[in-house]
Amino acid sequence: MRLLATILLVLWPSVSLAENTMRMAVTTSFHNSGLADVLLPEIQNDLGLEVQLLIVGTGQAIKLGQAGDVDAILVHSRAAEEAFVAEGYGTHRREVMYNDFVIIGPAADPASVAGVETVTEALQRVAEAEAIFVSRGDDSGTHRKELSLWSSADLDVEAFGPHYRAVGAGMGAALNTAADMNAYILSDRASWLNFGNKADLALLFAGDPVLFNQYSFLPVNAELHPHVNAEAVAALEAWLTGPRAAELINSYTIDGETLFVFNATSED
């Protein structure tokens, strides 16, 4: 027992309760894209602020913000964000950057999705061919987008047969599933480009303006949750919408492709 205690003492990592830290819930797509690894060290450098990321779906990120378990959230689901602010959980919504959603599918493209004009048509073809389609199914921003696309294509996911598979997982895990089943899937471009297990999948459809994917920063209301580090949040917001972030976000590329486009407007 005494030896065990000694071992523990040696291992005990000096729990650094750094004075300037904050927690931010971000979407899996933001983290899986690799952009977080570029921005966080710079934030640490410029602001001396340690941002701790919780990588979750948009649905859970909003829950965390409502409960006050994080100081800010960075998500991509406009309707949910506006509700979050309207209900008083967040102080405001600040747009930071965007990328787009793309349809990934088997390179052989059994549903002949490649080359169609609109995403509606692409989804209709997938449904007609009854090709396997993997859905996030986790109430994330991407999942909500996918559902809205199906419904604007006049298709009801509830009525789909077993070829529609909701996996209830993050972007990367869902892409893994799709790779294994050789299935179609809706992904954000950044996660797809940074994904390590592409197998036989290929990017089949992109470019419809409907697929625009806006990321926004929402500070959690400090009046509701007094423990929120509002000062750090304000500093982070200023940094994320400033010229340094613009340069880093716009110049972040994988295989020569730009992943995100900075579009924050200066303080109104």
């Binding site: 990592p13 899986n32 919780l54 409960a67 990367g172």
Partner: protein
């Protein structure tokens, strides 16, 4: 198969290069699980001895419940601890959610029933042997418990190792209450889940091999420590 081989190669390479981040994550894994183990043992051993020695009405029920809770689903424990520690939960003011402490609390809850059940099993057998002797010596209740616990120390070690095994490889609860925050609450199992999510199978597998190696090393170490005392019956 290629991935398996890549994983092995990468595991060796990561360990050989003494990757600082990896060492950090591995140390955090050990810190969380060993701390939880010490706390869980401190709770479970006396409980097991008490259940072996004392006869009272609810005893059988408690033992049955403990046995059943050995299969407690970690993810449920995680969810409950999460809701308790959340800022909007009853213990929110403590600000413990997404800290290593929260992970330790969850793991203690997962380990206690398992350790107590296994420990109780061997203590009960030992108590049958010792019963008449200890009663005839007219020792106090506390002395009985201490004697049993000391003489059954090898069996208790096994119980502790089982608890360690359950904790170190656990991902469901600590993912929920820890949040897998880089440099704060990321441990080997949650890092494996994260890398798998990125499709980085080789790296995920490398971390897995390191986790297995670490578990074996800790077990060997504890066994070696246990064998250093050879006198007497135990």
């Amino acid at each position: 198969m290629v991935d398996l081989w890549d994983g092995l190669v990468q595991a060796v390479w990561l360990m050989a290069s003494l990757d600082a981040e990896l060492a950090d994550i591995a140390a955090r894994s050990l810190y969380v699980t060993l701390t939880a183990l010490v706390v869980a043992c401190a709770l479970a051993f006396p409980l097991a001895a008490y259940l072996a020695v004392r006869r009272f009405r609810a005893r059988r029920t408690i033992i049955a419940i403990l046995n059943a809770l050995m299969g407690l689903p970690p993810v449920v424990v995680g969810l409950i601890v999460y809701l308790l520690l959340s800022r909007s939960g009853p213990f929110g003011v403590l600000g413990l959610l997404f800290t290593p402490t929260a992970m330790i609390i969850a793991q203690v809850l997962i380990m206690v029933p398992l350790i107590a059940s296994i420990a109780h099993q061997s203590l009960r057998d030992l108590w049958q042997e010792y019963h008449d002797l200890l009663i005839s010596m007219n020792v106090t209740q506390g002395q009985k418990l201490r004697t049993l616990l000391w003489d059954a120390r090898r069996a208790l070690l096994t119980a502790a190792l089982a608890g360690f095994g359950r904790g170190i490889g656990e991902v469901g609860a600590i993912m929920i209450v820890g949040g897998n925050i880089d440099n704060v609450t990321r441990v080997l199992t949650t890092a494996i889940a994260l890398e798998t999510g990125k499709g980085e199978f080789a790296l995920a597998l490398a971390l897995g091999f390191i986790l297995i190696g670490l578990t074996i090393a800790v077990n060997l170490l504890i066994h070696w420590l246990g064998q250093t005392e050879r006198e007497g019956r135990w």
